[in-house]
């Protein structure tokens, strides 16, 4: 067991040595892997920021409940009290007919028209703000329920917009998985091809080793370690690319947000995603090496 561990440790270190011995080629391979992995990671960040931004437009989910014209203020107040106790609802604001009329008059332009009216044509209105985590389906059910009440004339729920944004984010998320799958596949192919060339370059050594009684595992091991390192370093390179991109965009985004009066800040990769990038690279590297080794190593048999 100790011997086995020692041999692995030696192989592990030796494979690093071999990669460092050809810095140009190694760097190129690592860069290609890094960029391939940085792409889905970057898209992931885009979606996460989209989500954060969408979260900032919470008020879009507010909906208005128009009561029947002539509904009693006391009844309206009773409905407010009732709705405030509903689990999904965060707050309810009552806009009385008088207040609404005043607001309309203050907003200007209608003063003459409004003065001509005998009585206030506006109904009492409730502005309902649901809790942030409530799904759109619940809101629609709530709205439909309210709409059936005698005192309620009409409910205006503007969830279409939210639904569309969410659908868009869902689509993007799925697209990212697809892109990630393809690009990880690309990493497998890149590493596989690099290892294939390594095997080709070391054909003489492999032949001699087999002649001297090396097992397939012995011959295979350094190449698998090379794949492991390519993937690992490539993954770290991808994280560096993403971090660099964020650093470049962070300032302008903050300024843009400030100009719009917001305080939006770019969100980076969280721990799990970073781990997924590095882990994905590592596994893809190993897989590529394995494919190359399985396909090409057996074909090398010593000739005397």
């Amino acid at each position: 067991m100790r011997q086995w561990l020692t041999r692995h440790a030696q192989n592990c270190v030796a494979s690093v040595g071999r990669l460092v011995a050809h810095p140009g080629g190694t760097l190129l391979t690592v860069a290609v892997i890094g960029v391939s992995l940085a792409l889905p990671a970057g898209l992931n960040i885009l979606v996460r920021n989209g989500e954060a931004l969408a979260g900032g437009w919470e008020s879009v989910r507010d909906f208005s409940v128009y009561l029947q014209p002539g509904a009693e203020l006391a009844n309206a107040q009773a409905l407010v009290n009732e709705l405030e106790n509903v689990v999904d609802i965060q707050s309810v604001e009552l806009v009385t007919a008088d207040a609404a009329l005043k607001e309309l008059r203050d907003s200007g332009g209608f003063a003459g028209v409004l003065d001509g009216l005998e009585k206030n044509p506006l109904p009492h209105t409730l502005v309902v703000r649901p809790k942030a985590e409530v799904p759109a389906a619940n809101l629609e059910r709530l709205a439909a329920e309210l709409g059936k009440r005698d005192i309620v004339d009409q409910v205006r729920l503007d969830t279409d917009w939210v639904a569309r944004l969410n659908a868009l984010l869902d689509l993007t998320r799925r697209g990212i998985w697809l892109a990630a799958g393809l690009l990880v596949g690309a990493v497998v192919v890149i590493v596989g091809n690099t290892i294939r060339l390594d095997i080709e370059n070391q054909r003489a050594e492999i032949e001699v080793a087999k002649l001297l009684g090396a097992t397939d595992a012995f011959v295979r091991r350094p190449f698998l370690y090379a794949g492991f390192w390519y993937g690992l370093v490539g993954g770290l390179f991808a994280l560096a690319v993403v971090a660099g991109g964020l650093a470049l965009l962070g300032g302008p985004v903050a300024r843009l947000s400030m100009l719009y009066g917001g305080s939006f800040r770019l969100v980076g990769l969280d721990g799990t995603s970073s781990l997924a990038v590095v882990g994905g690279g590592l596994l893809a590297g190993l897989a590529g090496a394995w494919v190359a080794v399985a396909r090409h190593l057996a074909a090398i048999q010593p000739k005397v």
Partner: protein, 220 residues
């Protein structure tokens, strides 16, 4: 140690490398395989190293019918014997030390033990002190001695050599043969293929003559 029972090796294409060869080599013997090129010397050695498998008959090494060994048992079999090649098959990028240590690394020996054994093997062939040289900086005779050191470093009971002096001038050839004789004296069984009959007259030892894939004569 080695026994061939009616061994025939037919290559794809119908050419017979060996036909119904019977041969026995006792432990501790030094046997020279002679004959013209194409007589089957290399084929015979390839069968022992399991680079080829017999078409018919049995090849026994240490009482085991190696023709029947599964592919995964081949590495272990090859580790049990030493091989010397005409073109020595050293790795040009590696130092003498690294080349000689390769069989021990393959066998998974601890590093310190490797260093000790490699020096001992290089000492046996008179190349101690050239450990860090690259093979191409050595003369052909020295390169072949490195090849021999690599073949004996894991202390195999059996050593096979295919034309080990094929690229060497007579003086160097004799030097190599002297190394073989010395190794034989410490108990290594040897089967050496060569067509250099003049050399054998100087060295002595049992001979097996091959012609057209058959044993056509020999001594002892």
């Amino acid at each position: 140690m080695i026994r061939f029972d009616n061994v025939t090796k037919r290559y794809a294409g119908g050419r017979d490398g060996l036909s119904e060869v019977n041969l026995e080599v006792e432990a501790g013997e030094l046997v020279f395989l002679t004959g013209h090129s194409g007589a089957g010397k290399t084929t015979l050695l390839k069968l022992i190293a399991l680079i080829e498998r017999p078409t018919r008959g049995q090849v026994l090494v240490d009482g085991r019918n190696i023709g029947r060994l599964p592919a995964r048992a081949i590495p272990k079999h090859r580790r049990s014997l030493g091989m010397v090649f005409q073109d020595h098959k050293l790795l040009p990028e590696r130092t003498v030390f690294e080349n000689v240590s390769l069989p021990l690394i393959i066998a998974g020996m601890p590093r310190r033990e490797i260093a000790r054994r490699v020096r001992a093997a290089l000492d046996q062939v008179g190349l101690l002190g050239r450990e860090s040289a690259k093979p191409e900086s050595l003369s052909t005779g020295e390169q072949q001695r490195v090849g021999i050191a690599r073949a004996v470093v894991s202390r195999p009971g059996l050593l096979i050599a295919d034309e080990p002096t094929g690229n060497l001038d007579p003086a160097l050839s004799l030097e190599i043969m002297t190394v073989f004789k010395r190794l034989n004296q410490v108990g290594v069984t040897m089967l050496i293929a060569t067509h250099d009959l003049a050399l054998l007259d100087l060295v002595g030892g049992r001979r097996v003559v091959l012609a057209d894939g058959r044993v056509s004569g020999g001594s002892g």
